[in-house]
């Protein structure tokens, strides 16, 4: 990739969020060149191809599912939720880091977020898309999904508003809408840049349409700033509310192991935990393939590592309190549920999740681990696996062994369960690498504000 657009900058000093030596134009050059001029690296084809093949698997799995019905999955009485809801909760959780970075860190004036918010928001969108697949497919007749909506109909029926599953419909669709708007509004100035820079007439037309007439006038910027702030304000409660509603899916039921009052913040922390793991898992390969270490610096990775450690501790607190509460609360069924988790048919999964989610992240206390991209990458994959196991454990183990031993049953995942799950990973990677190829993966104009020359002095302001 030794072409003309290669930007040479010095290695950023530790603790810096942007390498020295950048100028407004070199930032624009470097980020836009990924889309416009540089030769697409082999890595992109490999990753896109890999995602694409898994997507084919997903299409196959869905086709078979629609032809034969949800019976091809391992869901049997009593475990009717199985992989589908596990994957739904896992995916929707991953999206949360994107919203946290784009909305909450914006409101908190954390400028380091400017370098990672764009692809993290894209990650949110695609994760929500993957998450949405599961409840839809789990319904068995996805084409009747609109029955979930309260609309006047000749059948004279309405959704059961006391069911958190209905709240989910509203929570997730609101989340998807606001995330999409936020992401798209944030893209507009950069779409304008791409429109002006591309030499491809078709590209110019497409970017031009999407940029919606962005000309970068002072008035545009002023409206833009207001819109972003409002959208950030709207998105902030969503970081909490979506996974809170997801946790209500469990807590409102009185199934042993589900009905615990601290599930809402526990789920939100777990969501952010897995989300930041996904941010790292995406950022670390991307920045080395595209040579973006000057923009996504070690400081960013360090911060993400710290957030993972903090949320990991909240999750650890939750596991611990869950056990204490089961013992102290004195409910026999609750105690049995946790005893089964630790010693029963899912003991391997339980102890692996403890190892992945609690033991492994303790290495993040060490600066040396947080400053090593390879170790961080490994840690983030471990956490992603751990969080999936956690969702699986909560859903499957509680359903498999509830109140009445005669109705117990073990969940056995079929190959179609795995095919659908891996398929959504394919869908995610496919969409994500499409995004990397077609849109600036780092926000050009926001990174430019990180430069020292972007800071207006007090004298200059007045």
């Amino acid at each position: 990739m030794a072409d003309d657009q290669q930007i040479v900058v010095e290695k950023p000093a530790p603790g810096e969020i942007i390498a020295p030596g950048y100028t407004f134009s070199t930032i624009t050059d470097q980020i836009s060149s990924v889309v416009l001029t540089r030769k697409t690296p082999l890595f992109w084809f490999a990753a896109f191809g890999f995602g694409g093949s898994l997507l084919m698997l997903f299409l196959l799995a869905v086709t078979v599912l629609l032809a034969k019905g949800v019976g091809i999955w391992g869901i049997r009485t009593p475990v009717m939720w199985g992989f589908a809801i596990t994957n739904f909760v896992w995916w929707i959780g991953i999206g949360h880091a994107g919203t946290l970075i784009s909305a909450i860190l914006l409101l908190l004036n954390q400028s380091w977020r400017n370098s990672i918010n764009r692809f993290a928001e894209a990650m949110t969108l695609f994760a929500v898309a993957c998450a949405g697949m599961f409840p839809l497919l789990h319904m068995g007749r996805p084409w009747l999904f609109y029955w979930m909506m309260p609309y006047p109909n000749t059948m004279g029926i309405e959704p059961q508003f006391r069911s958190p599953l209905v709240w989910d419909v509203f929570a997730v669709s609101t989340y998807a809408t606001v995330s999409l708007l936020f992401w798209f509004v944030g893209l507009m100035p950069d779409l304008g840049t791409l429109r002006d820079r591309t030499k491809n007439p078709i590209g110019r037309a497409i970017y031009g349409i999407l940029a919606m007439g962005w000309r970068g006038s002072a008035r545009h910027w002023s409206v833009y700033e207001t819109a972003t702030l409002l959208l950030a304000g709207l998105a902030t409660p969503l970081v909490l509310s979506v996974h809170t509603v997801v946790s209500f899916d469990f807590t409102i039921a009185i199934v042993p192991g589900w009905h615990s009052t601290f599930f809402p913040p526990y789920f939100v922390a777990g969501a952010i935990y897995s989300g930041f793991a996904m941010v790292l898992a995406l950022a670390i390969p991307l920045r080395s393939v595209y040579g973006l270490q000057g923009l996504i610096t070690d400081k960013h990775l360090d911060n993400c590592g710290k957030i993972m450690l903090a949320t990991g501790w909240i999750v650890a607190y939750a596991y611990m309190l869950e056990l204490f509460g089961a013992w102290y609360g004195g409910n026999t069924y609750e105690q049995a549920a946790f005893w089964h988790r630790m010693t029963g048919p899912y003991a391997i999964q339980y102890w692996s999740l403890v190892a992945c989610n609690i033991v492994a992240p303790q290495f993040l206390w060490f600066k040396r681990v947080r400053s090593s991209p390879v170790l961080l990458f490994i840690a983030s994959i471990v956490v992603l696996v751990g969080m999936w196991l956690e969702r699986f454990m909560i859903i499957v183990s509680s359903l498999a062994q509830d109140f009445l031993p005669s109705s117990w049953g073990i969940f056995q995942a079929t190959r179609w369960d795995w095919a659908t799950y891996l398929g959504t990973i394919g869908l995610f990677l496919f969409l994500f690498f499409l995004f990397v190829r077609a849109l600036p993966m780092i926000s050009i104009f926001e990174v430019r504000t990180l430069l020292p020359q972007a800071k207006v002095s007090k004298e200059g302001k007045r």
Partner: protein
């Protein structure tokens, strides 16, 4: 910069004002505590211990919550906390006094907690099950661990803060940063189990995993509201009058706003889950609190602890208005008192609403003594950390 030259020391004028307030609080506190103690001998020991317990919980929240804010600040860095660092340190230095104030609760264990009666424990399967945790020696050891741990953390951070003032340099900050993470973990666990021990075990059948978090949020909120009130008080006098600007207040106001929402989020989630579950071992806690007159207190909490401050704090102008923000902070503190009363008292007064004169004297007495001691601590050190790495950023931030 004039104030910087004087090292942000407490000026003579401010010292006089603080001493006046100190005397008032001390007199008030002494009268309150003495009256409550008189009630112990003349009226009812049970009532004395109850009033003391819930008033004590409020004071613990102010002191321990401030300690937590210090640790959050050392962990995350940033300029927002520089302005409240000294008041928070002073509040944390009151923890030894808080430890002493625990003694009446220790004496009154048998008056407060049913699990401390061996005949009751023998007769009740639930209590027998919980006995390895709920017993007097272990309860005392745990209380000493919470309070002792907080005292140690407070001593540590204040010591290194003093060294930072004297010598500057990177070392104090590094030391404090290194202990802040583990310290916060300890704080979280200590408050969680403290809530279990001191509040939940009044009704040993009930448990809610959210309750610890609710207590943490409550402490964070009351200490933040308290620190805002202190800052506004200091901002009326030299040297801080040159330092504190609406922007600083705006940041703190936003934090208070966020905590009001966080508390409401925890509180409502707990309620919704228990209400929807409607299980015999869970729902009685709310049944007691939603009948017999308590429901009006509950409604007042919904409005005063959440809806009203939420609606008011949305306003940017209000968060930048010193007096108004202080008044809201004081109101939030009042609602914290009401909330703690609503959480603790109904379990003692099974059935109907009740309020003793000792509840008033206890809370006024404890808060008065505590405030006097706090002001004593506050005047000891410069009102801003002189060598805080974020100090100039914080001062600059205020002037932008």
């Amino acid at each position: 910069m004039i104030a910087q030259a004087t090292g942000f020391q407490v000026t003579d004028e401010l010292r006089d004002t603080m001493r006046q307030w100190r005397t008032r609080f001390a007199v008030f506190g002494a009268v309150g505590v003495l009256a409550t103690v008189a009630g112990l001998f003349l009226v009812s020991p049970n009532q004395f211990y109850r009033s003391w317990l819930w008033s004590y919980l409020f004071v613990v929240g102010l002191a321990a919550g401030s300690l937590a804010w210090l640790m959050v600040q050392y962990l995350t860095g940033g300029a927002w906390g520089v302005i409240i660092r000294r008041p928070a340190e002073a509040a944390a230095r009151t923890l030894p006094l808080v430890l002493l104030l625990f003694i009446p609760i220790f004496i009154g264990i048998r008056n407060l907690y049913p699990w401390s009666h061996s005949d009751l424990v023998r007769a009740d399967e639930f209590l027998r099950h919980k006995q390895p945790y709920l017993n007097v020696p272990f309860f005392t050891i745990r209380a000493l661990i919470y309070l002792g741990g907080w005292c140690f953390l407070s001593w540590f951070f204040n010591r290194w803060s003093a060294i930072e003032d004297r010598e500057g340099g990177q070392t104090p900050r590094r030391k404090m940063g290194a202990l802040a993470g583990p310290g916060l973990i300890f704080f979280g666990l200590a408050v969680t189990f403290m809530a279990t021990d001191w509040v939940l075990s009044i009704d040993p059948r009930w448990y809610s995993t959210m309750y610890g978090l609710l207590m943490i949020a409550g402490q964070a909120l009351s200490s933040m509201a308290f620190l805002i009130a202190v800052i506004v008080f200091l901002a009326a006098h030299k040297p801080m009058v040159d330092v504190v600007t609406p922007r600083h207040l705006h940041d703190l106001g936003k934090l208070m706003f966020a905590l009001v929402m966080l508390w409401a989020y925890f509180s409502f989630s707990q309620f919704l889950i228990i209400w929807a579950g409607n299980l015999p071992e869970e729902i009685p806690w709310y049944l007691v609190r939603l009948h017999g007159g308590w429901q009006w207190v509950g409604l007042a909490i919904v409005i005063g602890h959440f809806a009203l401050p939420f609606a008011l704090l949305l306003s940017r102008d209000l968060k930048r208005n010193f007096k108004l923000l202080r008044n809201i902070a004081l109101f939030v503190l009042l609602m914290r008192v009401v909330d703690i009363y609503w959480e603790v008292a109904p379990d003692f007064l099974k059935g109907s609403f009740g309020l003793s004169w000792m509840d008033f004297t206890a809370v006024l007495g404890l808060v008065g003594i505590w405030l006097a001691y706090f002001l004593r601590q506050l005047e000891k050190r410069p009102l801003l950390p002189l060598h805080d790495p974020h100090l100039s950023e914080a001062l600059e931030h205020g002037r932008e």
